[in-house]
Each structure stands twice: as structure tokens, then as C-alpha cells.
């Protein structure tokens, strides 16, 4: 099942590259395959037992002398992230199909390949396999930005590749050292390590990809120069792979170094959160706002991950899903605005709400959820994160709370700059409202957000196994019985009281 989720898009990509199909068929086959992928994922969810740990495993030795194997499987939280991937990728592919891209066979093949690689990252239970998928994400992204991107794409791709590969190669060194020390590269059967250097190697790769504060230099260029749907995928899905890596590898395998570095990482995350919010507030265009808000949101998610307790983890997972959906929807909307006005610069926009009620409604809804209005799923996620990180010190809670205010500032500024105010110079009467096809790809994302707003516990309550004893998750396992001792403080508050607040 897990393997099928990887092989279906990859096989589809090969099919598109090998068969000389006309443009229409290429796009529709790719879109259809991405929908089948969503279906496969839904089927997996339906059969998933959320009270247990790793499921839908597949295990096959790859090369035995170093104990490397093809080992995949789903945890609760990786299942949600995989779901995010399938949904966002389907929407992105649908959007690209509708807008039409040059060289469709190459384009859609790469999009499908990217889908398979990202799913692979979320399910890999072997470090080398994880690395292979991790790099597998980079290759299609590089071409997707470099070929179909904007005018500054060459510089953007060089920056993107150098940043991410520098991080990745440090991770490769860490993987080799960790794997050979442990005698296996398997994530399940390997133990934990207390080496700070190995931890930092992993952390470097994840911090670049997320990105965390001082390592975000590639972000504005890459997000601005990609086509909207690729930017949506990049910020919505690919950045989550980094957060996932923090959770599934850095925190899980390195409890000691995590505790040692906690304050440092929390500081960086907080700086990223505040600094990103301010940059988003100052950004002159829609994509700038979304790009920098991604930086801020990844900072918030990292706060949750390094809160070191179950509330923080639950909140971080929920917020990953939220931000993935929001970010993808906003980038697609930005693309739609750009198709109508040729720009996303606020100086030339404004007044688009008049006569375009659907665009206004959709953008407004997404924006309102993004600024974490109470009752929205983003509010639930941020609340959990803040409640979690509060236990590391009230200061973090204050910073996080302040950042929510900043989020409201930049989101409202963007909404009013596009929809309200005076009519912008490039907004003409010919600019149509959202077309049904655009609605078809954006509304599902917004619908997911609304559904999660009704029941955020669907994710926050179903990401980690509930059983008191679950093998393999002892390091940050379910907190029903407290383990106050040890380096990794586990939060002891009964979960039900929190959920009682969150669930309507």
C-alpha cells in the first residue's frame, strides 16, 4: 500500500515521458493519476489504526553488508503529511493543467515524480532511503523552477540548490556516521545517539529546507521565481518535509542533543517567526507576503516541535497541515490574480472585490483562516503550540502570541491591498472572477481547512498513538504516564482537558 503510493506517481511520470501523447492527454492523465493518488491515500486512512504505531510496512533488504533496506511505513502524523502532499499536488497539477504549461510531458512528469519523492520522504523508515527521497525531491524542483520559472530563475535555482545541497550533504555525513555507529540504517531498529555533531548535521539540512531564520536566503527568490503552483508545493509541502525530519529523526534519535540545543533552536525559531512576520508586513507583493509568512509559520512550527511535549507535537503537526493547505491555496490565488492583472505588486492592485465576489470570498476565507481567527483550524494549531511552548518558559508564549497579532497585520494588509482600497492601475473590468476550473482546484483546499476548523482534533488527536505503551516511541511517547526523569521532559497534563477546549 505504502509502496503503491510511491510507485503510482513515479510510474506515471515514466509513462508520460515514454509515451508521445498530445498535450491534453498528458495533462489529464497526470491530473487523473494525482486524483487516484488521493483516493489511495483515503483508502489508507480508512484502514489505518490510529491507536498503534508503524503500519502498512514494507521491508526489503537493499544492500545487506551495511544493513540498508527499503523500509517504508506510516505513522499517524506521517499519514497526515502524506495526505497533505497528495491533496496539494493534485490541486497543483490540476491548476497547471488548466493554465497550460510549455513542454507538458516534461512538466507533468516532473510534478508526478516530485509527488512520489515527497511521499517517500514521509514514509521512509531507513535513513539512506530517506536521504534518497530527500534528494529525489530536489531534482524535479530544480528543473521545475529553472525551466518554467520567472525571469530571475537561473539565479534563484543556483541559490536554492547550493543552500539545500550544502545542508543535505552535511546530513549525508551524519547519516553515514550514525548508521555505522548503530550498525544499521533502519530508523526502527537503531537506537538513540548523544552526539551533538551528528545531530547538527541533520539539523542543518532540515533548517535549510524549512527554512529556519539565518538560513532562509534562498526562500524569497525561489518562491517568487517559481510558477504559482510550484511555489505552493514548495512552501506547502516541501518545507513540511524538513519539519517532519526534525520530528522523525532529529528529535527522536537525538534526545540528548535536542535538550542541549533546545534553547538555541527555540531562539532561532522565534526570531524567524517575528522577523518573517515583519518582512511579510513590508513585502510589496502577494508572493512576498506568502513567502515571508511561510518563514514565520515554519518558525512557529519549529517552536512547537522543540517545545518538547505532546501539546507542542500535536500542535506542530496540525499547524503543518494548516499551513500547507493555506500556503498552497494562497499561491494558487496569487497565480489567479496574476493571470488577470499580469502583476502581484500591491502598487498596481486593489479593488478587485468589486464585481468579483467569488474571488473575494475565497481569498477572504483563506486569509481569515491564515491569520488564525478563533474558531479556525490555524487558531487551534497555534494555540496548541503556544500552550506547549509556554511550558518551556512564558517568554516563548508571549513571542508566539505577539506573532499572531503580526499575522493578522500582514494578512489583512494583503487582503485589503488586493480586494479593497482604490482600484489598482492594472485591474481592468476585463479581469474575470474565478473560473470554475480555478474554483475546482482551490475550493478543495479551502474546504479541507474549513473541515479541519470544525474538527481540528482529527489531526491533532490522531497523530501519535494513544496506547500507554507503544514500542519505538519511548523517546517522546504518549504522555499518559509521566516520565519526569530523563533528559526529555514530557508534559503530564491530561490530554482530554485540552481537547475539551478545542473540540466543539
Amino acid at each position: 500500500m505504502t509502496t503503491a503510493l510511491i510507485l503510482l506517481p513515479v510510474g506515471g511520470a515514466l509513462l508520460l515521458w515514454l509515451l508521445p501523447l498530445p498535450r491534453f492527454w498528458v495533462g489529464s492523465i497526470a491530473f487523473l493519476l494525482s486524483l487516484v493518488e488521493v483516493g489511495l491515500w483515503i483508502d489508507t486512512v480508512a484502514r489505518f489504526d490510529f491507536s498503534r504505531g508503524l503500519q502498512f510496512e514494507a521491508h526489503q533488504s537493499w544492500f545487506s553488508d551495511l544493513h540498508v533496506s527499503y523500509h517504508v511505513g506510516f505513522y499517524g502524523f506521517s499519514l497526515w503529511l502524506a495526505g497533505l502532499t497528495t491533496v496539494v499536488m493534485a490541486c497543483a497539477i490540476g491548476y497547471a493543467f488548466w493554465t497550460g504549461r510549455e513542454r507538458p510531458r516534461a512538466y507533468f512528469g516532473l510534478m508526478l515524480l516530485l509527488t512520489g519523492a515527497v511521499i517517500g520522504v514521509f514514509v521512509a523508515q531507513d535513513l539512506l532511503l530517506f536521504y534518497a527521497f530527500w534528494e529525489g525531491m530536489l531534482i524535479p524542483l530544480y528543473i521545475l523552477i529553472g525551466v518554467w520559472g520567472g525571469p530571475g530563475r537561473m539565479a534563484a535555482t543556483v541559490k536554492f540548490v547550493i543552500y539545500t545541497m550544502a545542508g543535505s550533504l552535511l546530513m549525508l555525513a551524519s547519516i553515514i556516521v550514525f548508521g555505522l555507529q548503530q550498525g544499521t540504517f533502519d530508523l526502527i531498529s537503531s537506537g538513540t545517539s548523544s552526539s551533538l555533531w551528528i545531530f547538527l548535521g541533520f539539523a542543518a539540512a532540515f533548517a535549510v529546507k524549512a527554512p529556519l531564520f539565518p538560513l532562509h536566503g534562498w526562500l524569497p527568490d525561489a518562491y517568487r521565481e517559481s510558477s504559482p503552483e510550484v511555489a505552493g508545493v514548495l512552501s506547502g509541502v516541501v518545507s513540511k518535509a524538513a519539519a517532519y525530519g526534525f520530528l522523525a529523526i532529529a528529535i527522536r534519535k537525538f534526545p540528548g542533543p535536542t535538550a542541549d540545543m533546545r534553547t538555541t533552536i527555540l531562539v532561532l525559531a522565534a526570531i524567524g517567526l517575528v522577523y518573517g512576520s515583519f518582512l511579510a508586513f513590508r513585502a510589496p507583493d502577494i508572493r512576498g507576503v506568502i513567502a515571508y509568512s511561510s518563514l514565520a509559520q515554519m518558525g512557529l512550527i519549529t517552536l512547537g516541535l522543540f517545545a518538547g511535549n505532546q501539546l507542542g507535537f500535536d500542535g506542530a503537526i496540525l499547524q503543518m497541515i494548516n499551513h500547507g493547505l493555506i500556503s498552497a491555496a494562497l499561491f494558487l490565488l496569487a497565480g489567479s490574480v496574476m493571470r488577470r492583472t499580469t502583476t502581484d505588486d500591491f502598487a498596481f492592485l486593489g479593488g478587485m472585490a468589486r464585481g468579483r465576489p467569488i474571488l473575494a470570498t475565497v481569498l477572504m476565507t483563506t486569509g481569515i483562516i491564515a491569520l488564525a481567527v478563533p474558531g479556525s483550524t490555524a487558531f487551534a494549531g497555534e494555540f496548541l503550540i503556544l500552550a506547549g511552548v509556554f511550558q518551556q518558559g512564558w517568554l516563548w508564549g508571549v513571542i508566539g502570541g505577539g506573532a499572531i497579532v503580526l499575522a493578522a497585520m500582514y494578512m489583512l494588509r494583503m487582503i485589503s491591498a488586493v480586494l479593497h482600497r482604490k482600484r489598482g492601475g492594472l485591474v481592468t473590468d476585463d479581469a474575470l472572477d474565478l473560473r470554475p476550473a480555478e474554483l475546482g482546484v482551490i475550493v478543495p483546499l479551502v474546504a479541507c481547512l474549513l473541515a479541519l476548523s470544525v474538527w481540528p482534533a482529527a489531526i491533532s488527536g490522531h497523530s501519535f498513538p494513544r496506547a500507554t505503551v507503544s514500542a519505538g516511541w519511548t523517546s517522546y511517547g504518549p504522555p499518559s504516564t509521566t516520565t519526569g526523569s530523563g533528559i526529555f521532559p514530557i508534559q503530564t497534563q491530561p490530554r482530554s482537558t485540552i481537547e475539551g477546549v478545542m473540540t466543539p
Binding site: W17, S61, W62, F63, S64, D65, L66, V68, R103, L128, Y131, A132, F133, E135, G136, L138, I139, Y142, I143, G146, V147, R153, M154, T157, V158, V161, I162, M165, A166, L169, L170, L172, A173, I176, V177, G179, L180
Partner: protein
């Protein structure tokens, strides 16, 4: 009555097959009408390489216990057989690349005879088990390659390449010979096992001899600082010959380096592992930094081959069985990628009628989808990204270095890989992301028709590059069997 050793003809069969092919090709040059010369000679040469490949394969299967043959002058073991298979495979693919080369060749028979003979020399070299056969094999293939490098007499750079290769290569051979003489002088032994048994000596001349042997072999594997000839020779030689040189010469030289060091100098393990590690670092630094600024693709690939010598020397420097496996696995993947990359360059070169630069690669990926994708994969493989054997090869090499306890060597390798990404990705960028409009098109007459043989060679190289990523286990088993005859 002269005492003659018993000769294990079977152990020599790969060489014999190739020498027969070389002789036949020479006869063809004389006896066959001009129009039939090229196809016949190419077929004979290809059959020679294929025969050598099969013979080496059979030899591999029947040489589980390594032992010396022909008065212990050569070693019949799986290490030699596997290296012979790699060399023969690279040769076979190179024939496909060379076949449709410049039409003005009037000496196709001689060309293919020399190619076969160079292959035979390498195949002989990897089984050498004393200093004389080592030198014999080295000169055998070197002299063939000197001529091949200069074969394209119409091209200005080719003669220069041949001459430069001849002078620098002869210097390398002289150093090797000098070192051999010193080692023989201090130990009184020519055969590797004998040297090992007498290796307790702390005579400084013995150490000097070891250093000179390493240096001499370094010339052939184009490890820095003995790489000076590499860029010019790779650039000036006919591209098919470059492809063969880059893959097969490196294989022969590195496998022999591993064999000499582990069988003849086990007592000096501490010394030569450090020396090789230093060479590896130098190669990585020089190769990668110099490649960054190249605009001409062949020259860039030449420096890249220097840097890959560095990666493979990391595996040798590890001085353990894992390192041996890493080296052989790396060689399989690297040979495929290297032959394939030069094949694509050759195709573009023939299409444009001039040398390939990053600028005139613009749009190539879209015009020639198959060759473009293949080049893409080869570049990713060189850069050590997944879905190619290059990734697993680097992983093994670094693991071996870590196993030796040299984490600094892993770091050096990782940094070098990071640097290399820039120029490998530059090729992809040139092929796919630059508009072809910048391109000054080739002179009138249009593109030459697609070359089926060259494309077949690229397809095989592509299959090996990608296949080695998935089929790691069988290849590593082969490599393990091969190095099991060495004692670390």
C-alpha cells in the same frame, strides 16, 4: 634446454582474444578494400571486447581461489577478472562511440587495432603480480593510448594531446620504474608476495621506492598532483578515445594501485594509507576547484575525472575490505557514467562540428530528449545524487573512510561533493534552461543523422548507471568476491 613455465592459457584468454582482434584489425587495414575497412575493423574490435568480457566473466566464475600463474608473473583471481570485465565493457561501449567518428579517418583498421591493444594491455595490467609484469602492462596500454590520443591528425589539439601524453606519461612510467628498481634493490624481490615477506626493512630507499610507485600509478589514474596531462589530453583526443581512457585507464590504474599496496606493502599500511589519503584530498581540491571555471565541457569532465580519482582514492586509503568493495562498486558506476557522458559530448560535437562548450549546449536537452535525459542522469550520478550508482558509490567510499576512523576524510569528501554540484548542475542548466536562440547554429548541411550505435552505447551506460542504484546487492557481492582474494 631452457626451462619454460607452464602457461595457464585460460587465465590469459581475455588478453589473447583482444590481441587476436587487434591483429585481425591490422590485417583488415591491409587486405580489405577501403569501403569495408571501417565496419569490418569495428566489428572485429567489438567482438574482441565482447569476447574479452565473456572470457573475464568465465574466469571470474572459475577463479574463486586466487593464485599465481605463469611462474607467478600474473595473478589469476576475481579482482583481476572483475576489473577486466569493467575494462572490456568500457571498451565495447567506446567502439560504439568511435564508430561514427570523423569520416576522414583513413586508418580505421589501425585505430581499432590500437583500441583493442590498449584494452588488452589494461586487462593484462590488472592481473600483474610482480613489478615487471606491472611495468609491461603499463607501457603496453600507454603506448597504444599515446598513438590513439594523437590519432585525429586533422585537429590541432590532437597532436598536442598525443605529444603531451607521451612526454608526461613517459615521465610517470620512468618514476614508476625507478621506484620498482629501488624496491627490488632493497628487498631482492620482484613479485608482490616476496616484497611483502621482505617488507620489514626500514631502509629509506624502500620507502622512497614505495612513494615512487604510488606516484607512477598516480600519473595513470590522474590523481593530483600528477594530473597535469589530463585536461589537455582529454580535450585533444578523439572523444571516443577520451571516453575509453577516462573509464578504462582509471579502472586499471586504481585496481592495480589497490593490489600493489595491499599485497606488496601490507607492512607499510600505516604509511601508504596516509599517503593515498593526501593524494585523495589533493585530487578532490584540484579537480573540483579547477572544474568550476571551465567552459569547455570536455575539459570540465577531465577535471571531474581528477576529482573522481580522489573519491576512489578515499576508498583505497581506507585500506579495509569495505574500501575495496567501495572502489570496485564505484568503478562500475563511474565507468558507465564517464563513457556515457563523453558519448553525449561526442554526439553534440559531431552535430555542431566544433568543440562543445556550456554555451553551445543550450537547448540540447529539448532537441535530443534521449541524449539530454541521459546526460542529465550522468551529471546527477557524477554529483552523487540518488537514483544513480554514483550516490551509492560515494556512500560506500565515505563509509569505508569512516570505518578506518577517518571522519575528516568523510568531511573532505562531502565538501568536495558540495563544490562539484555547481559545475555538474551547470551542464543541466545549459541543456535545459537556456534558450536555444543564443546558439550559433552549425554550418549548413543540417545535423548528421542520429547514430544508432552511439545511442545504444549511451543507453547501456544509462542502464548501468541507474541499474547500479537499484541492484546494489548483486554488484556488491561481485565486489566482495573480487576483494576477498586480498588480505587487508
Amino acid at each position: 634446454m631452457i626451462h619454460t613455465p607452464s602457461v595457464d592459457w585460460f587465465a590469459l584468454s581475455p588478453e589473447l582474444v583482444l590481441m587476436t582482434a587487434a591483429a585481425l584489425a591490422m590485417l583488415i587495414a591491409v587486405l580489405v578494400p577501403r569501403w569495408a575497412e571501417k565496419p569490418l575493423a569495428a566489428v572485429v574490435c567489438a567482438l574482441g571486447f565482447a569476447g574479452a568480457l565473456i572470457a573475464a566473466g568465465v574466469l571470474f566464475a572459475h577463479s574463486a581461489d586466487g593464485h599465481g600463474v605463469v611462474a607467478d608473473a600474473i595473478q589469476r583471481d576475481r579482482l583481476a577478472a572483475l576489473a577486466q570485465m569493467i575494462v572490456a565493457g568500457a571498451g565495447l561501449l567506446s567502439v560504439g562511440i568511435c564508430y561514427a567518428g570523423r569520416g576522414s579517418w583513413r586508418h580505421s583498421g589501425e585505430f581499432f587495432a590500437l583500441l583493442a591493444s590498449a584494452g588488452a594491455g589494461m586487462i593484462f595490467l590488472v592481473s600483474a603480480s610482480n613489478l615487471l609484469t606491472l611495468f609491461l602492462g603499463l607501457e603496453w596500454f600507454s603506448i597504444s593510448l599515446y598513438i590513439l590520443a594523437a590519432f585525429d591528425v586533422d585537429v590541432v589539439g590532437s597532436l598536442e594531446a598525443g605529444l603531451k601524453y607521451l612526454i608526461v606519461g613517459s615521465f610517470g612510467s620512468a618514476v614508476l620504474l625507478f621506484g620498482s628498481a629501488l624496491v627490488y634493490g632493497t628487498t631482492g624481490h620482484l613479485d608482490f608476495a616476496g616484497i611483502a615477506s621482505a617488507g620489514q626493512t626500514s631502509d629509506p630507499l624502500f620507502i622512497a621506492g614505495l612513494a615512487m610507485i604510488i606516484a607512477g600509478l598516480g600519473f595513470k589514474s590522474s590523481a593530483a598532483p600528477f594530473h597535469m596531462w589530463t585536461p589537455d589530453v582529454y580535450e585533444g583526443s578523439p572523444t571516443g578515445v577520451t571516453a575509453f581512457m577516462s573509464a578504462a585507464t582509471k579502472t586499471a590504474a586504481l585496481v592495480l594501485t589497490l593490489r600493489v599496496l595491499t599485497t606488496a606493502f601490507p607492512e607499510r599500511h600505516q604509511l601508504w594509507t596516509v599517503a593515498i589519503a593526501v593524494l585523495a584530498c589533493a585530487s578532490l581540491a584540484v579537480g573540483n576547484l579547477a572544474a568550476l571555471v571551465q567552459r569547455r565541457v570536455k575539459r570540465m569532465l577531465a577535471y571531474s575525472s581528477v576529482s573522481h580519482a580522489g573519491f576512489m582514492l578515499i576508498a583505497i586509503a581506507a585500506g579495509n575490505a569495505l574500501g575495496g568493495r567501495a572502489l570496485l562498486y564505484y568503478l562500475i558506476a563511474y565507468s558507465a557514467m564517464s563513457v556515457g557522458a563523453f558519448a553525449v559530448v561526442a554526439a553534440r560535437e559531431r552535430e555542431l562540428g566544433k568543440e562543445v562548450t556550456l554555451d553551445n549546449l543550450a537547448g540540447f536537452g529539448w532537441e535530443r530528449p534521449f541524449l539530454g535525459v541521459a546526460m542529465w542522469v550522468f551529471m546527477l550520478g557524477f554529483a552523487g545524487l540518488p537514483l544513480t550508482g554514483g550516490f551509492v558509490g560515494k556512500f560506500y567510499a565515505f563509509s569505508a573512510a569512516y570505518d578506518r576512523g577517518w571522519i575528516w576524510l568523510v568531511i573532505v569528501g562531502v565538501v568536495a561533493t558540495a563544490v562539484s554540484l555547481y559545475y555538474y548542475f551547470a551542464v543541466i542548466r545549459a541543456m535545459y534552461m537556456r534558450p536555444a536562440a543564443e546558439l550559433q547554429l552549425a554550418p549548413s548541411g543540417g545535423s548528421p543523422p542520429p547514430e544508432r550505435l552511439l545511442q545504444a552505447s549511451v543507453a547501456v551506460a544509462l542502464a548501468v548507471t541507474v541499474g547500479s542504484f537499484f541492484a546494489v546487492q548483486p554488484l556488491i557481492d561481485l565486489a566482495r568476491d573480487a576483494v576477498s582474494s586480498l588480505t587487508f
